[in-house]
Every structure is written in C-alpha cells, then in structure tokens.
C-alpha cells in the first residue's frame, strides 16, 4: 500500500482527497467529451457532425425515395426572420441535394446568428451528411440585411430501410453577445 504519512488516518484521507479531486476532474475531462462522442455516435438529440462531409463517389439509389422535411425555429430573443425556402424535398439516397434557407435581420444593428441543427429520428443523424452548411459557422448580418444560407447534403445509401422521413430542424440563436464577449475576454 502507498504510504504517505505515518498517521494511518491521514494516509487514508490523502487518498480519499485524491479520489474527490479525480471525480471533479472526471466531470470535465471524461463526462463532457464522452457525452459529445456518444451524441455523435448514437445521434442523441439528433446532433450531426459539425464539420463538412467529404463526398465519396457513390451510386445514386434511384429506386428509393426519402422525404426530407425542413423546420426553422427562432430561439428566445432572436428577432431574425429565418425560414427554409422549401419545407419538403424528396431525395434519393446517394444523390447530392441543395437547398437554401432565408435569413433577414430586421434590427437596425448588426447581429450574429448561429444555427443549430438537429435531426429526427436521432438514429438517422449518422446517415445524413452535410457537405456544405451555414450551420458550420456563425452568421453575421448587418442591420436590415438579408442572406440566403446554402445547405448541401447527401443521404447515405445505408440509411436503414424503415426510415422514410427525415426531419432537419434548425434553431437559430442570437450569439451577438457571446461573440463580443469572447472578443472582450481576449
């Protein structure tokens, strides 16, 4: 046994303090990253990869059609007009598809938005590849400005047969303060 002090009680206590410190670190070093990994793997909350998918040449499966629904939600206090230009698309697995979301900042001041994607059902998340998405970056818009936000995606051919409809939801958050805050912090 590790011996740290001649007093056995102090010895036990030091080890227990180490356990407590370890558990505190465990939350930050293990639990948070592990949760994020599990989210990606299991599609918890329909989270998708935050990075662009590199398309590989595949055969388009024209025999199968999957419906893709688009939803846009504004988070609390986000005044932008934000909506998909098409609410529904029918696509073939393997094919590259494009669509556009519309955003307008009605406020007089410049703002920064961040769109957060979420896919339903969650288990479809790993089969939904975005080769280009406005959600990868924050979106600054000047007062009164509008923008067309492009999205390009491929539905994987391995999408389980029993999934016929995929819903892609974007929630747009106002991150203006967060961005300026982090600038100030630097």
């Amino acid at each position: 046994m590790l011996k740290l002090s001649n007093n056995p009680a102090i010895n036990t206590s030091i080890k227990l303090v180490a356990v407590a410190v370890f558990m505190f670190a465990f939350v930050f070093v293990v639990m948070v990253p592990l949760y994020n990994v599990l989210c990606d793997v299991l599609g918890i909350n329909g989270k998708t990869s935050g990075e662009a998918y590199t398309a590989v040449e595949v055969q388009v499966d024209e025999s199968r059609t999957v419906s893709i629904q688009f939803i846009a939600t504004n988070n609390d206090g986000m005044p932008w007009d934000f909506a998909p230009t098409r609410t529904m698309m029918k696509v073939h697995p393997g094919a590259v598809n494009d669509t556009v979301f519309f955003a307008r900042n009605p406020m007089p001041n410049a703002m920064v938005g961040q769109a957060i994607p979420s896919i339903s059902p969650g288990r479809a998340a790993e089969y939904f590849h975005k080769t280009e998405c406005f959600c990868f970056n924050q979106q600054p818009l000047d007062g009164g400005a509008e923008a067309e936000l492009p999205l390009q995606f491929i539905v994987d051919q391995d999408l389980p047969r029993d999934i016929g409809t995929i819903t892609l939801s974007y929630t747009i958050f106002d991150v203006t303060d967060m961005v300026s805050g982090s600038v100030a912090a630097r």
Binding site: T73, N75, G77, T87, P106, S120, P121, G164, T165, T171
Partner: protein, 381 residues
Amino acid sequence: MGSKAKWLCKLALGPVLLLMSVVAMAVGGEASEYNMPQGVTAVGQQVYDLHMIILGICVVIGVLVFGVMFYSIIYHRKSRGVTPATFHESTKVEIAWTVVPFFILIIMAIPATTTLLEIYDTDNAELDVVVTAYQWKWKYEYLNEEGENVSFFSNLATPQAEIHNSEAKGEHYLLEVDEPLVLPVDTKVRFLVTANDVLHSWWVPMLAVKRDAIPGFINESWTKATEIGVYRGQCAELCGRSHGFMPIVVNVVSKEDYAQWFTAKQAEAAETKGLMAKTFTLDQTMERGEIVYDSNCQVCHGANGEGGVGNAIAGSAVATGDIGHHLDIGIDGVSGTAMQAFGAQLNDVDMAAVITYQRNAFGNNMGDIIQPIDVYNHKKD
C-alpha cells in the same frame, strides 16, 4: 398488557387495510380520478395494461410480505411469553429470494420492452406537427407538403379572475386553451417537439405521450387516436413562473372535419394576409385587441392593465408615449426581462390591434389607431 397490545395491533392493521382497499379501488373501475387513464390509443392501452400488471404483481408481493410480517407481529410478541429463536442465516432461503425476484423481473421486462419499441417507431406518419414550447404557451405547426404550413399559438383560456378566485371556476379550469390542437382520428400523427427558451414537456395522458421539449434540439413522438374527443394535458417540466398555466388541449375529430378545419385554417391565414391592406376603425381594432390582450398579455400585465409580473400598462410611459417605441417593445421584447418578443408570435393584424388596445384601454386615452400596414412597415425599418 395483553388487551392493550391487541388493541394496538388492530390499530396497526387499520391503516394497512385501508391502504389495500384503496389500492383495490384503484384497480377497479376506469375512474380516471384514481388511476392512469386507459387512453384512446393502442399504445396507451398497452401502457395501461403494463401499469396494471406491475401494480398487480406488487400488490401480490406486498400482501405476502406484509402478511408474514403481521403474522409475526401478532404471534411472535414478547407479551405472549414466546422465547425468541436464534437462527440468523440460511443460504438456501437467501438464494431463493434473490433468484425468484430476478425471474419476476424478467417477466415484467418482456412486455415493457415490446411497448417501448413500439413507442419509438415514429415512421410512416401521415401527419407531422411541430410542437414548439414557449414560456408559457404552445405553438403548433402543421407541416404541409402542398402549400404553406399552418401554424398557431395555443394559450391558456382560463380568465385571471377565475385563477384569483373572484369568479367561479369553470368545468375545465386551467385545462382550456384559446385554440386547441386539432387532429384527425385514426391517423398516425408524428410530433416534433422543441422549445424556444427553457425545457418544457408536452404531456397528454389520454394519448400516453410525454416528450421533453429541449431548446435547440428536436424530439419526436407519435400518436394514433382511435376515438373522437377532447383530450387535455399540461406542461410536465418545470419551466418557470407560469409552468402550471400552459395547458394542452387536443381535439380529435373525424377525418372529414379535420380536412374542413384545415382548409378553414388556411383560408384564415390567407384572410389575415388580406386584412393587412385593410384599414380598421378604432372600434374594430379595440374589439380584436381585447381578445389578443386577454390571451397573450393579461397573465403578466393584469386583466385591467394594472401590472403584475410585467409593468402596469394603465397610464404607463410606454403605452402613452411614442408609438414606435411601443411597437418595438411589443415586437422585439425587452431583453433580460420576462417581456418576450411577440413579433413572431402575433401576426401584424393582431399586433396592430393589441397595441391600439393598450393605448386606448384601462384609462389610457391616446386615440391612436395602429393599422396592420403600420406594423408591417415598422418591422421592415
């Protein structure tokens, strides 16, 4: 001592018998005041059956365990002059009561697993409804393949006077809304649940659906009601001050009625667009404004604009000041306070009406009439 002990023992039995008879009562009828409702969906029925099976198993085990205990309490008492036994272990018995419960659990787990898998099978829905939770109301949006989505907010319809006990409470006190969710019967409906601000949870017991609404993420569930009727529920996740005041009402109607309702809703949306160009009189605006105020504003600002969580509107600087500033507050809210941005929640016609109402009611007498087009232009600037 003997008679006293007997009396005590009877007293001890009393509550237990009472509890059991109450459990039996719960097992009995369909009275939903005591028990989980059977619901109007196949899944709801399964969940109810599961609940009753587990409850039944628990009651049986309980009767056996408590039976042994009470036998001991009655017959193995010191006052009867018994000599205590000295046994204190038995490996056989210990193994038995570890293994037997394990098998009982397996028997419980089988139907539970089947039902759970069914609840998770959201595919092949015929209708998709996006449920968005707000502090403290629900928004329903029907995804529509052809044409525009239909969407509306559903607010508590119970008057503040009933809540504050100055009026008699109605039959559906706290479980009534200004505009219910309308669903067709015998149709698989998929709910896509999300939230605008904090966590909420969409719960309708008769449909056996409860799903958390999480800001930023989407959650899904489904239902297929087999009976026409009105089903009520509430938000189930603490979401702040008015958590208890955001009910859910689902109106399940025949497929024909649903189609009719849906067409009417679309027409209404088109009509609202038409109203945009119309010029209203003060009376018309005030009439509409009062309705909008009662379902959206009065919770915080009071039935007579006297204030509450929100500032008073009667005689306030905002409602008697610059129209542009008043519109800004109504449309964009006041960040850092409970005053939300209503710009996306109310259409321009309703926004114009309610701002006009606030400026001309509760003793405010500005004489302004805001027209829908004014709101539209103000939003554009």
